[in-house]
């Protein structure tokens, strides 16, 4: 089971924008994409259509919202990485309208 792997290993592999990324097992998705992922930004603002990235890393600013395993609007700073997790930058404006 993947859960066993992630608790016994120090690292997990996630997929950020389709590319695999091996990161420490105990960190948040936001930390993983900003640090090892060198993402720069985590999504686009649906009103202004400009790049955005986390500001607070404590669940206040909502700028870290990403699509995680197919579910949009996830606060990536509050979610710990899991083995095999699929993470995408959020761009609701372009995708939905």
């Amino acid at each position: 089971m993947s859960t066993n792997i992630s608790t016994t290993l120090d690292t997990v592999t996630i997929f950020f924008e389709g590319k695999s990324l091996t990161v420490p097992a105990d960190i948040s998705v936001a930390a993983a994409v900003l640090g090892p992922g060198h993402a720069g930004h985590t999504g686009k603002n649906p009103v202004m259509d400009d790049n955005r990235a986390p500001v607070c890393l404590m669940g206040v600013c909502f700028e870290c919202m990403m699509e995680i395993d197919g579910i949009p609007n996830q606060q990536s700073c509050l979610i710990t990485v899991r083995e095999g997790m699929k993470v995408k930058r959020q761009n609701t404006l372009r995708e939905k309208y």
Binding site: N45, R52, A53, V55, F62, L78
Partner: protein, 460 residues
């Protein structure tokens, strides 16, 4: 599973952990809900994690945090991590863990949701690479990751020297420290020194911190104005005015800090009575010494009530825990007094230097005089000009402006723009912030899916 408790605590920081531990040790059924995956709040974020040894720069801080967590673990209180509370009433909460919602009832609710950094809009602050100063520390404590250098720090508040010193120790390049604190804070704060003498080690710690920042060697610019973050989709420069001259620094990260605010979304949603702090310019829930709010069943404790720092937060949590045990008759009055006395002494010692600290780091007068094109509401793209236009058209209350402009209606629900909206409105109308109202906060206070709204087990 039991879904009815004597006491329900929201938030696993110093105040929440202490409140829950004290109430549980006195024999009450206690549950503590927290958003993070491990206890400690923001100041002791991930302190009990496997790698916290290398990620906490101060051994004393780490030990204090571990002691709080250890006491809580042994107290018998139920702990519910990774849980988001999205509605609170006087007798219970609605919350979600991993997309599953549930209702938990309690006789008393303690709100210990802590503080956040005051968001202050400026030109370019939505550019990726601009972060709050505290987030750099959180990133390191929770994941061992440091921000990309060169880093520019800007603002006014205790986190500027703290974070500058941490970055220095970690070998991150600091391109400059832009101090925006007004000169007049210094003489004003000196008047508060006599009371602060009660806690000399605290003052000494502060002096040491400022000294270390100076010795760190990063260039400091004082009385800086007109800070602007520049970069197309990614920060690459910070420009500002210093001594009448326009200057520019290359930067990959800009860390800003303009002081701390209590997080009041839950206390506002509960319609508790709030007061306005004129020095630090923030709203806080009115409580007595034990954290009892204007609602009989609700306590507000720690920095989420008023920002007094970790030692005060711990003491405030303990006092609330003792008080609730007394009210639920598991602790007699004389035994309660015995527990209260030493905690009160600790609280008053921790509060002694706050008058000085609050005055020294008081937000400057022109903090919110940004030009019209500055984006205030990051979620909905509402500018200072849009807000001023709405006021011109007759909106005199922040809720009217919110309806008119959508300022505060995005996913963060006004957490990032609420204080700026109120300050801009008050300044435009040439009045004080308490006269322009406060944003109405309604549940759900966190985005939830329709499924979460539909599926919570109804009380059968």
């Amino acid at each position: 599973m039991q879904e009815q408790y004597d006491v329900l605590v929201i938030g696993a920081g110093p105040a929440g952990l202490s409140a829950a531990s004290t109430a549980a040790e006195n024999g009450l059924d206690v549950i503590l809900l927290d958003e993070q995956d491990s206890p400690g709040g923001q100041i002791y974020r991930s302190v009990s994690g496997k790698k916290s040894y290398s990620r906490f720069l101060s051994k004393e801080d780490r030990n204090d945090g571990l002691n709080l967590v250890d006491r809580f673990t042994k107290s018998g209180a139920v702990y519910l991590p990774k849980t988001t509370v999205w509605d609170v009433s006087h007798d219970g909460v609605l919350c979600s863990s991993d997309g599953e919602s549930r209702e938990i009832k309690a006789q008393y609710i303690m709100v210990a949701t802590g503080a956040m950094e005051r968001p202050v809009p400026f030109k370019g602050w939505t550019t990726p690479g601009v972060m709050s100063a505290g987030s750099a520390d959180l990133l390191y404590k929770s994941s061992g990751i440091v921000p990309h250098g060169p880093v520019v720090l800007a603002g006014n508040g205790p986190l500027i020297p703290l974070v500058a010193n941490h970055l220095n120790e970690l070998g991150v390049e600091i391109a400059g420290i832009l101090n925006t604190s007004p000169f007049q804070n210094k003489p004003k704060s000196m008047l508060r020194i006599p009371l602060a003498i009660a806690d000399i080690p605290f003052l000494f710690k502060g002096l040491k911190m400022m000294g270390a920042m100076f010795l760190g060697g990063a260039k400091q610019y004082h009385n800086v104005t007109e800070i602007e973050a520049k970069g197309n989709g990614q920060l690459n420069q910070v420009s500002f005015v210093h001594r009448g001259q326009h200057k520019t620094l290359n930067a990959a990260t800009l860390l800003v800090h303009e002081g701390m605010l209590p997080r009041t979304h839950i206390t506002r949603m509960l319609n508790l009575e709030h007061k306005w702090d004129r020095v630090q310019r923030y709203w806080y829930a009115k409580t007595d010494t034990f954290g009892r709010s204007s609602n009989n069943a609700i306590y507000v404790v720690g920095d989420g009530q008023k920002v007094h720092g970790v030692n005060a937060a711990t003491a405030k949590g303990e006092l609330a825990g003792i008080d609730v045990a007394r009210r639920l008759n598991v602790l007699c009055e004389s035994a309660a007094q015995l527990q209260i006395a030493p905690v009160k002494r600790r609280l008053y010692k921790a509060l002694a230097p706050r008058g000085f600290v609050d005055a020294f780091f008081a937000p400057r007068k022109n903090l919110f005089t940004m030009v019209d094109e500055v984006v205030v509401c990051r979620c909905e793209g509402v500018t200072a000009g849009d807000i001023r236009q709405a006021i011109k058209e007759g909106c005199h209350d922040v809720n009217e402006i919110k309806l008119r402009t959508r300022c505060g209606m995005g996913p963060c629900q006004g957490r990032m723009c609420g204080s700026a909206l109120a300050e801009i409105t008050a300044a435009t109308l040439q009045t004080e912030v308490p006269n322009v109202g406060a944003l109405h906060i309604r549940p759900p206070i966190r985005p939830v899916t329709v499924r979460e709204l539909r599926d919570f087990p109804s009380a059968t």
